[in-house]
């Protein structure tokens, strides 16, 4: 689909390319296609290119020429877009669904705990971008049945790996942090690991699928992570 793009000259070094204001898979995949192309053109000139839901931000090392950059972007936007150049993955994330706020979510959603766990595993969540804190994934696709407002009193410390629901979103806490989301489970995986390069395996455009594990499996996975013989499972999509 062809969208009308708008350009925002934030500062002498920063340009944003914005798609229509909506949360959409099609827009995300197009932004990723653009990002890839842009990085191949201005690899040396750019510090970074990062995303929100509908804006792609280009952070140049030096002030850039607006006409020149937009001119080139418009030029390749005429080319036939091919999403096939994106190599997308679907990551399988094991979760021990024993979060302390499950009963709160059950009360709000009027679902049983078992139903919550079942509903949460159904969708493949679309990874839109990272933000809020290092390695925090903005995931799209939470079932309306599971919408649960954030808590009025944030928890002073939410454990790294906690899987949670905040309003209309679900996510994984990549590091210990205060937070107001409802904790429904815990993954033994190190989602954000500074010892790895890159620190996170998944990237925007990928999908995340949660699956339920029991305490024994949780411990087994934790052990194999410590022994460095755990491989995160994914399929190509």
């Amino acid at each position: 689909m062809t969208y009308k793009l708008s350009y925002k000259h934030i500062s002498p070094n920063i340009l944003e390319i914005c798609w229509p204001q909506e949360i959409s898979k099609d827009i995300l995949l197009q932004m990723m296609t653009y990002k890839k192309k842009i990085i191949s053109i201005w690899y040396e000139e750019l510090w970074d290119a990062h995303l929100g839901y509908h804006c792609l931000s280009l952070n140049f090392k030096e002030p850039f020429s607006l006409d020149e950059v937009i001119g080139q972007i418009e030029e390749f936007s005429q080319e036939k877009e091919t999403h096939s150049i994106l190599h997308r993955k679907r990551w399988q994330i094991p979760v021990l669904y024993q979060g302390k706020d499950l009963s709160r979510v059950a009360k709000i959603t009027k679902l049983s705990v078992n139903n919550i766990i079942e509903e949460h595993q159904k969708p493949s969540y679309l990874l839109h971008f990272f933000g809020f804190m290092p390695g925090f994934m903005y995931l799209g696709g939470l079932s309306e049945k599971l919408y649960a407002p954030r808590k009025d009193q944030p928890d002073p410390k939410i454990q790294k790996g906690s899987v949670a629901i905040g309003g209309q979103q679900t996510g994984i806490y990549p590091m210990d942090s205060p937070g107001g989301w409802n904790i429904i489970g815990l993954t033994p995986l190190q989602v954000f690991n500074l010892k790895e390069q890159p620190p996170i395996s998944a990237q925007p455009g990928d999908e995340i699928k949660f699956y339920s594990i029991d305490k024994k499996e949780f411990e087994a996975i934790s052990r194999s992570i410590i022994n460095q013989n755990y491989t995160l499972e994914y399929e190509t999509i």
Binding site: I10, Q21, D48, H50, G52, F132, M175, S177
Partner: protein, 292 residues
Amino acid sequence: MRLSEAHVEVIKPGFYSSIQDLGRFGQGHWGIPSAGAMDRQSYELANHLLRNHENSACLEMTMIGGEFIFWAKTQIVLTGAQAKISLNQKPQEINNVIHINSGDRLKIGPFSKGCRMYLAIKGGFQTSITLQSRSWYKGISPHHLLKAGSILPFNAPIVDLPSLNAKVSVDHYLLENQQIEVYAGPESDQLPNDIFDQLFDREFHLSPMMNRMGIQIQEKLENQLNEILTTPVYPGTVQLSPGGKIMILMRDAQVTGGYPRILQLNQSAINILAQKKQGDKIQFKLIRSDDL
């Protein structure tokens, strides 16, 4: 003394001190803030006076300086805020190369003017590097806040250091200027003209809600704007909440946000703001977009 033993021993850490360099570039797509020296102008001056590389790590102190013992011969420079400074009880000045011998004790008092002071050391502090930067940030670097007893390693020069007499006068403009230069933010066109104009007609004051992530303004700006779809944000982005709170994002700010972005500070405005304290007055000045 072997190289590895050269270090600064922290006796008193000050109010909020951390190691900073130019920051962590190009990690925003992982959600990782850039961090880096809040007042980059003073940071760069400190390294420049020592002939250091521009990305040499410095100690950034906030509001109150610390007390330190140097366990090797070296040279240092202090820049930014003004305070009573003494080396072995002898008064010292900022913006000036200070020669250090092993065992020397440096004391820096509360700041009389400005909010942030930089301590640069010859060759830069050799603290650990995470994602190509030594800047401290909670959850990324092994430390995020200087403590009494902390050890800050540096490389003791192997040869005798040439005597540097580099000195520049204090930049009063940086510490006294109240004008904050801004570009119109990407969502500013959603504000009615009369409300947008208020941003430049009124004076604003800094609230106590301020840290390396951001600074909240005391005054509110009534508005009817809604939250936006989460977009990228940057150091220097000015956000407006539906309740009218004005929040200026600083170097440790997260990389995305959901409030309308009404203004964007330029680099020197971020430096000026980094030297402001609670209650200080500021005035926004619009840079015409043709100048962009």
